[in-house]
Amino acid sequence: MLHRQLIAATACLLGCVACGPGTGTEGVEVGPLQGRFYVSDEFSPSGHMGDGENPGFITADIGENCKARAPGVGGACYRFTYQPDLRFGADMWAGVYWVYPSNDWGTRPGRTLIPPYKRVRFKAAAELRPDPSNPETRETPRVSFLVGGIGSNPADPQPYSDETIGHAQAIKNAYLTTEWQDIEIDLTSVVPATPFQMISGFCWTVNYQPGVPTAQSPPTVIYLDDIVWDPE
């Protein structure tokens, strides 16, 4: 009798501990993305590229050290500082993808989006970078912005990819100034009519070529804010 009680008590104690506290979705709304959303709420700027693949060349400030925010904006604001790699053979460019899950380059599924989505709109600005040592470098940084492209490199196939129509949609080589600019990426030709998967939500790249930086060259500092996927 005693032995049975002991076994029952043991099983009860061990069992109640072994039951997990949850699945990791506690307190988080689950489901595909539909309607307007801030990219900072759903994707993380963890996909560093080019010189940014190595630690120390891109510094990301999220929600701090931002440029004064414009009225009515939402989501997180960002400041990115890119110090180019000056070694021979370095990439001379860098970029950051906002991805979900963090650091995913196509090995894991991303988020499902339910169309329609017509544009990605955001605000961008930069610090001027006069470089007396290299007159070829323009004072206004030249930045490209794009949506899509993860997992679609034929040279490096991945099990999952951004399901845009075509490789990606980009605003190429926009010259940023110290004032906020409103920029839009048109999605009408890249978003499918049916629900689709996106690992990435946004991306920027900076290319120093042909203005090759020198040791005296200042870093590129860009500000981003209010990045929104908009169905309208």
């Binding site: 043991t10 501990v17 506290p21 307190g27 900072s40 759903e42 630690p55 929600g63 963090s102 894991r108």
Partner: protein, 619 residues
């Protein structure tokens, strides 16, 4: 024939004495040395089984009803029965102690035995302090009264020494009492006086275990999960790192992950103790671990290619310091709820300030609440004791950075333990008679236990689960030798859920399965129960030889298999000045991770620890 008549005469005179005794009782009860109770108890239990002792109790109970005998004699008989009942786990023991105290109201010795029942037999993981206190202080009051009336005998000095020592042992977790009353040497009026005491632990170690002082108790698993995460496609396993690192961890990085950071900590508490409320603590803990945390899992061994890999703030060799500060409060009380059980309730709250455990951000501070609850239930099953223990710790972490789905952070640690303590005398091999033989031997207990500890830490949609299921036995012999053997099945896994559907997936690349064997023989150099009173010097001293082995149960868990052995010394000193208990532990261990090497030799580490505690915790 002559002997027969001598024996008969002795019996007759004894009978005459017993018959005559009641008549004398009405005049004045004879003074009895309370140690006669202890002597009779020892005579009734020596070399006997528990069922024989129970028979002895049955035999003695009818003899307790003799109303004509002197009350002091009757008190002594009740005391013997009560002690026998304490030994056999009989719930009626307090009833007989009470009668003994009632029938010999001036005798402090019975109060001492009664208090010992609550401090040494009863309780759940801790003595029933508040009930034991009542009788220890009653003993002190009676000793004072005897001294005043000139009836303080030589044996009362021994009773007094033991009473004060037992009170000190009862309060050993309190530390240094700041105001008189419960402060050593305790005064008779100290029972209901509030007590304020300070306790402290100072520790220094260089060890592979206990990285964040809670939860990371299995270093083979900790290092394996770190290596697997670093080697995953979201870190070094998926990144195009510069030469010579490249994609995927290199052998020198595998080799670097096991580490033994230098750590020191100071825990301090101010305890308020009040009978019958219990103990209320205000705590402050500070700890520092030197180069303990991997700063970036892209480079778990650091990146030495400066300036290619600019060192992140605070990082050297890929590691950064961890600092933790905790301020909080705790409450603890053992509740005697017999005939059901004794219950220990413990609750604590801490506000934690932690720096150094967020990846990439070695200077990032986290502030959060930590809640802890413990419940232990204990009761006798015959002479044996069964104890069930439940624990729950909740880290209420702040939201992390990143997308909403990845911000949620929390940690739950749950534990359950079931212990069966066998207190029956055991037939054990003996060489006492000069040749091998088997004797029924009383022991300090043979403990069998099983339990589970589960630690779930949530990082957004990912949860890292570490689970230990253990089974063990500890034998505490009557002599100087104790031994513990424990086996632990340890697992670690990572699960993640889809942000779209909430469906749960496990990540097979992030899992650990291992078996740990612990063998801990120990020698009791100085027995704590052998010395009455308080004087400088070790009251208790143990030499411990911990040995452990971690076996990986699948290929991915084998890298950090290891064997570890060492020697530790655990000692306790009571200060005759104001009476705090000092507990010292010092040890050296060597740990060999025999499956990884630097090209020539397996990785081996010299480890040490030194702890000094004033109050706080059992030895």
């Amino acid at each position: 024939m002559k002997r027969f008549f001598q024996g008969l005469a002795a019996l007759l005179s004894l009978g005459a004495g017993l018959v005559a005794a009641p008549r004398l009782a009405h005049a004045e009860d004879p003074e009895l040395n309370p140690y006669e109770c202890l002597g009779r108890y020892e005579a009734a239990t020596g070399n006997r089984t528990i069922s024989q002792i129970k028979q002895e109790i049955k035999k003695r109970i009818p003899e307790l009803d003799n109303k004509d005998e002197p009350k002091s004699v009757n008190a002594m008989k009740h005391c013997v029965v009560a002690m026998l009942m304490s030994r056999t786990g009989d719930g009626d023991a307090p009833l007989h102690y009470e009668i003994a105290v009632k029938n010999a109201p001036q005798e402090p010795g019975y109060e001492l035995w009664f208090a010992n029942h609550y401090s040494m037999f009863r309780g759940a993981r801790s003595p029933v302090t508040e009930t034991a206190e009542v009788h220890y202080y009653a003993s002190l009051k009676k000793l004072d009264a005897l001294r005043a009336s000139g009836k303080y005998r030589a044996y009362h000095a021994v009773v007094e020494e033991w009473t004060k020592k037992r009170l000190m042992v009862l309060y050993q977790q309190d530390g240094l009492h700041l105001i008189p009353g419960k402060q050593y040497p305790q005064k008779p009026g100290g029972l209901y006086r509030p007590s304020f005491s300070v306790g402290a632990i100072a520790g220094l170690s260089k060890d592979t275990r206990d990285f964040n002082r809670k939860g990371d108790w299995n270093e083979a698993r900790t290092f394996t999960l770190e290596r697997q995460f670093a080697n995953s496609d979201v870190r070094a396993g998926g990144a195009s790192r510069p030469d010579p690192y490249l994609k995927g961890l290199k052998p020198f990085e595998h080799y670097a992950i096991p580490r033994a950071p230098l750590r020191y900590h100071l825990d301090a508490k101010l305890r308020y103790r009040q009978n019958p409320i219990g103990a209320l603590d205000f705590t402050y803990d500070q700890s520092h671990a030197e180069q303990a945390q991997i700063t970036s899992f892209y480079f778990p061994a650091g990146c030495g290619l400066a300036p290619l890999c600019n060192e992140l703030d605070g990082s050297k060799n890929g590691l950064n310091d961890v600092n933790v500060r905790q301020i909080g409060g705790a409450y603890e009380r053992v509740l005697p709820l017999y005939p059901l059980f004794d219950a220990k309730v413990g609750l604590s709250y801490k506000r934690v300030h932690r720096v150094g455990v967020v990846e990439f951000l070695p200077n990032k501070a986290e502030d959060f609440n930590l809640y802890e609850g413990k419940l232990a239930l204990s009761r006798f099953v015959g002479s044996d004791k069964i104890t069930a223990e439940l624990g729950y710790t909740y880290f209420d972490m702040p939201l992390g950075q990143g997308p909403v789905a990845e911000q949620s952070r929390s940690r739950h640690i749950r534990s359950a333990l079931l212990e069966y303590a066998l207190y029956s005398p055991l037939v054990l091999p003996s060489l006492a008679a000069g040749e091998p033989s088997f004797l029924r031997t009383p022991t300090r207990g043979w403990y069998f236990y099983t339990g589970i500890v589960q630690d779930d830490e949530q990082y957004g949609f990912r949860t890292v689960t570490k689970r230990d299921i253990f089974l063990g036995s500890r034998f505490e012999g009557s002599g100087i030798f104790d031994i513990t053997l424990q086996g632990t099945y340890a697992t670690g896994k990572q699960t993640f859920s889809s942000a779209d559907t909430g469906m749960l997936y496990s990540d097979p690349s992030q899992s650990y399965n291992g078996f740990r064997t612990n063998l801990t023989p120990q020698l009791r150099i100085i027995n704590p129960d052998a010395i009455p009173g308080i004087s400088w010097g070790f009251d208790s001293l143990m030499l411990v030889f911990p040995i452990s082995h971690d076996l990986g149960l699948k290929k991915a868990s084998k890298d950090y298999e290891n064997i570890r052995a060492g020697v530790e010394m655990w000692g306790r000193v009571f200060s005759p000045v104001l009476g705090p208990a000092f507990l010292m532990t010092a040890g050296y261990n060597y740990q060999s991770f025999y499956n990884i090497n630097n090209g020539a030799n397996p990785k081996g580490m010299h480890l040490f620890m030194l702890n000094l505690r004033m109050g706080w915790g059992d030895l």
